[in-house]
Structures are given as C-alpha cells and as structure tokens.
Amino acid sequence: MAAFIAPALILFLLFVIVPVLFAAYTSFFDWNGLGGIPTDFVGLENFQALIADEVFLGDLWRIGLITMLSVAVQLPMAFGLAMLLHQRFPGRTAFRLLFFVPYILTEAVTAVLFGLIFSPRRGFADAVLAGLGFDGRVGWLSDRGLVLFVIFGILTWKFFGFHMILYLAGRQNIPEELYEAARVDGATSKQLFRHITLPLMGPTIRITVFLSVIGTVQLFDLVYVLTKGGPYHASETLAITMYDQGFVRNQIGYASALSIAMFLISLLFALIYQRYVLSRDLQGSLTSTDGGRS
C-alpha cells in the first residue's frame, strides 16, 4: 500500500514540505537571497518587524474585508442565480454557460481587460457613465477608498460563475421525491427552501466558503497586474507584499517570514474550519487504511 503512494509522497515532500521548511528556516535570517546560504541569524527579528509593519497589518484588514464581502455578497448572489437557473425555462443552458465564462479567463487577462475598462482618462466605464448623462469621472482605481471595492467587483464577476456551478450541482443532487412528499404534506415554497434545499445543500455551501476564503488569502495575479497593490498600498494583498519584499527589494528573509505568516493563517483557518464546520460533511467519506473496518 505504502509503495503506491510513494511517488506522490516524494513529490509532495520535495515540492511542498521542503520549500515550506526552507522558508521557515530563512525567516530567521537577514538574507538577500543572492548566492550561497543565509548566514546572518537574527532570531525573531523579522517576525517582530512584521507585526509592527503597517503594510502587513493593512493587508490583513484588506484580506478580511474582501473575505467578508465574498461570503456576504458574492456567495449569496451565486446561490440565488443557481436557484434561478435550476428552474426550467428556454435558454437555460445558454445562461449557465454565459455566467461561467468569466471563470475560464486567466486572472492576468482579466486584469488587463479591466485595466482598460477602468483606465483613468478614457476608460470604458467612465464613457458609459457619461453616455448615461452622469458628469465627471469616477476614480475607479485611483481613489484609495474605492479601489478595493472595484477589485471586489471584478473578483465577483470572475468567480461567481464557479460558485454558481457548484451550487447548481449541489441542487441537482437533491432528490425531487423529497419536494413532492413535502408538497403533499402542504409545505409552502418558503418551507421547502428552508427545510429541504438549504440543509441538503449545506455541504456545498460550506465547501464554497472554504474555497473562497483560501482563494482570498492567496490573492495575487489579478491585483498585481491591475494596480500592483496601489495607489500607495490601498489594494495591496499579503502575496503582493511578499513578492515586493522578496523579489523587488531582495529581502528574502523578511519575505519568508511573511510567507510563513500566510501559511499559518491558511493552515489555522483550514484546521479550525475542518474541525468545527466541515467535520459533519467529512464523516464517513474518509477512507482509512484498514478498509473502513474499524
């Protein structure tokens, strides 16, 4: 049995565990990453600097905000659309496809596209507003109070289709008989939704929340190509700060400390979420080495 997982295990060790351990090691050094191995041991200095770093604290706040918005706005919207698209009506397949299309674009292409739409002088968005009779420009990406919400809008446009497809699949797995039986008992459509649809889609909802949060913590490509995290850190994410410190400023030690912080945030969230939220869904679905005899 062990031999069958060996190849995967070796790859996992080499490309996941070893780099993580190496990053943990370098996070205790002041190291520019160039040539040789780190030698200037500084203990926890990088981590001390990190928790005093306004950019890092700002990143946490921004990531938190986008996560909350995603869970409160993006996922319910995807859920609602999935319910609508579950109904029978002409053109249903076309709509499903249409809503899913943005997800197929790579993040970089999406960023370039929206960079043109929200371009400061001749952007398409401003032109549309002007055509509707609104005066003046909106500083879509230049207004430091607005830029993060614009990015959230783009993220929603790009990812709601993905969540919608998951919800749609979850909804289709609910046997129609349950609804028929409930209707015979005189249940209203509100009751059907509250007592059948919602509880039976619980596993799907919980997993989309999980994917959404982890995706947000790692947010990089789209924002980097669109704004590089600017103006002045207003749209910066953890991954952008890490990249900037490591690859632009050659502060690999500090960037490693940041990456370890990111790793711990993701890990802690994943563990807590699995333990307390996903535990019911995972029960019985995990295979054990004794073939499930115990």
Binding site: A6, P7, P120, G139, T227, N250
Partner: protein, 426 residues
C-alpha cells in the same frame, strides 16, 4: 512465482527517478530557451524593436550561434529580471541601468566582467561610470542622458508663460498660471512610483547639493534637514493639484499614462529622461507635440546650494550574465560598431555614448540636440536613486515618493522610512 515485493520497489524507484528528473529540470539553465544566446531589451515598440532584432539576426548569422531576442516592456522587464536574479540565472545579454542594482547582481557573481573588452574605446569613458564597480566594467553603455522638464511650448504660451522657469518659485507660479488657463500643468504616472522619485531627488539635489546627496548616499543616512525640506516642497506642489486627473492609478507608458498625456498635448510638462519624446509618440500613437516640445533643466531652489547644471541622469546599457558563452563579447562589440550605434540613435532616438559622436550622430534631431546641449553644460550628474542604491533603498524611496504626493505620509516620515531602510541594509 514472482516476488510480491518486487513491484512496489520498482514503483518506488520510478517515483524517485521522476522526482529527481523534475528537480533537475527546475534547476536547468534559463529554463525556457534552447538558443545559444538570450538577449533581453526594453524597446518593445517599433522601430527600435525591429532594429535590435535585425542586429541580433545579423550577428547570429555571422557567429553561427542562435539568438533569442525578447522585447519586454520596462515595468515587466524589471519584474522578470528581479525574479531571474533571485533564481541566480540572468540572461546572456540584458538591459541594465548600472548602479546599486547591478552591483548587487555582481556581488552575487551573476554578471560577466568585461573590463578587457577592446571595443570599449568606442564609447565615451564617462558613460562607463555607472557600470564600473570596484574598478571593473560590467556593461556596455548604449544611451546616456539627463532628466529634465519636457514641456509643450504651445500650452505654455496659452497660459502666458514667456520663458521656462529657472527657480522653484517661478516654477510654482507657472504651475498656477497653467491651472488658471485651464491646462493640466504636469503629467505624472504615480502608479509606477519611479517617475515620482525624480521630483524628490531633484529637490534634494537643489537643497542639499549634489555633494551633500552623494555624501549622504555613502554614509547611508539622510540626516541633512534639506531632505525634509525637499519633501515639504514636493508636498506643497502636490497640494496645488497640478497633475492630470487619475494620476494616482496612471502608469508611465500605458495608453492613459504619463507619456501619452504629454503626447496628446493634454498636459504642459513632464519630468523625464532623454527617452521621453520617443515614448510620448509611441504611447499616444500620435506624432507628439513635435516642434512645440522644449526642454528645461530642473529649476534651482532659493537658498539651496544646488545649481541647474547638476543633473539627474543615466542611460541604458547591456550587461552579460555570468553563464553567457564567450562569444557574447563579440556580440557586444558588434552592437558597439559605429554603424550599429548610428542605427540605434536613429531608430531608438537614443542619445549617443560614442567616443566620437560626429561619426555616429552627424545630424541630431532637435530633441537629441536638447539633451546633448544640456549634457554639455553639466557640472555634475547623479544616477537615478532607484538604480544607484541597493534595491531595498531604491524601492523605499520610490514608495515614499508616491506616499508623499498622495498625502499619505509627511516629509518627516519620508526621511524616517528611507533611513530605516538604510539601517536595515547595514
């Protein structure tokens, strides 16, 4: 009967071999390219893009080696090059601005020492300074010039400004006049950050003096009160709102960026290097301001020791990665042949670095003439700070410059940020 243990062992071995192969591939030279010579430059617009390609092809045929040329937009170039630097594998020939960034690459042993290159006598020795580290030369220069205000004479006339300002108070008065006339005084691409750092550097050069700035750079501390004063003047300028709408998210070279805003004749001036007129045309897709384009040095600041003949400047050169084949020196010399320098000057609108300029640049364009004249008057030059200093310091100066014009940090915080970065570096 077969030994049941045999198969798992074989699988294990196969897995280990596959893993090793993957690691080996990941550590391989430059990864993507099979060519003998990889050549990275930043002229991603024609005509110069084709000219570099043509020169590479010609040499490739002559030398019997294959050359893979990559034209990469400057911001992407910096990103990719810093990643390559971290990977410890630079292209065989790549664009550099010299200074502290190149020094860090040299220190890591990633750059080829070309001090012995015979054809170096084809260039003006002054232009080698930015690429000389501890007495050794690491790049061939290709372009040399200064940063100053490129201005639109028609728009200045419209606002009733008769002569370019020579002092800071004349300059701010001109900005006000332009605003009153309904003209955007200054084009700025703040999202790229580096165009903003020219303002702070120049104000520091004027208030602390070139020698003072150089001494501070060597000491690794900006302690002179002039540095704070420079930030204060910059913040005052920003408070006049002289920049085009949306400058906070504008880049230097994109369609709605700083250069395009100048090229379309929307803004009256920009603080930029010798390449500005070419990029104005390329980015806007227009002919640019044409004859209306003028150049004036950064004004003197009342009470400061700096004079207008001290310039911030620099240029582009090419360095060779340590892993390059020996023939790379031959390629560098081919590029430096007078005839090829002339092609670059003509197609790329470069300012010549030739030891004998008249052989390369018999009839400079008016724009090239303006840069040549400014350089002829120069009593001192300072390389762009974001290239002159190590990347951690340069990036902090760029970041703080952006923060200052956006009103996010104070002039005092600016100096503190940079000094902390210096302290970390030592």
């Amino acid at each position: 009967m077969r030994n049941p243990l045999q198969r798992p062992r074989a699988l294990l071995a196969a897995g280990a071999a596959a893993a090793l192969a993957l690691t080996a591939a990941a550590c391989g030279d430059s990864g993507e390219s099979d060519a003998d010579v990889t050549f990275w430059h930043i002229q991603n617009e024609d005509p110069m893009k084709s000219t570099w390609a043509a020169m590479a092809d010609e040499w490739s045929e002559e030398a019997g080696l294959t050359v893979e040329t990559s034209a990469i937009a400057v911001e992407d170039f910096k990103t990719r090059l810093s990643t390559q630097t971290q990977a410890g594998d630079l292209p065989d020939l790549y664009n550099t601005w010299g200074g502290g960034v190149l020094a860090e690459q040299v220190e890591a042993g990633l750059v080829r020492d070309i001090s012995g290159l015979e054809c170096l006598d084809k260039v003006n020795p002054i232009t080698l300074e930015a690429y000389t580290i501890d007495g050794k030369v690491y790049a061939i220069p290709f372009d040399q010039g200064v940063v100053g205000f490129w201005y639109n004479k028609d728009l200045f006339a419209e606002a009733g400004i008769t002569a370019p300002p020579t002092t800071w108070s004349e300059f701010t008065a001109a900005v006000q006049q332009l605003k009153d006339a309904g003209v955007t005084p200054i084009a700025l691409g703040a999202a790229d950050k580096w165009p903003v750092h020219y303002y702070w550097t120049y104000l520091s050069m004027r208030l602390v003096g070139l020698e003072g700035l150089q001494a501070a750079g060597e000491a690794g501390e900006f302690s002179d009160p002039g540095f704070t004063e420079a930030g204060r003047l910059m913040a005052e300028l920003a408070a006049m709102e002289p920049f085009q709408e949306g400058f906070e998210s504008a880049t230097y070279g994109d369609v709605d960026g700083q250069a395009a805003t100048m090229g379309e004749g929307i803004a009256a001036m920009e603080l930029m290097g010798q390449w500005a007129p070419q990029v104005q045309r390329d980015a806007s897709g227009t002919e640019g301001p044409g004859d209306a384009l003028g150049f004036f040095p950064f004004p003197a600041v009342e009470g400061g020791p700096g004079v207008t003949t001290e310039f911030l400047g620099g240029g582009g050169g090419f360095a060779a990665g340590a892993g390059a084949p020996d023939e790379i020196e031959d390629f560098m010399c081919y590029l430096l042949e007078e005839e090829n320098q002339a092609r670059a000057v003509q197609d790329g609108n470069f300012s010549t670095v030739a030891a004998n300029p008249e052989e390369v640049l018999p009839e400079p364009t008016p724009e090239q003439q303006m840069v040549v004249e400014a350089m002829a008057t120069a009593t001192g030059t300072q390389l762009y700070l974001d290239q002159a200093y190590p990347p951690a310091i340069g990036s902090t100066i760029n970041e703080a410059s952006e923060g200052l014009v956006l009103g996010e940090i104070t002039p005092e915080e600016f100096v503190t940020m940079v000094n902390e970065a210096w302290a970390d570096e030592q």
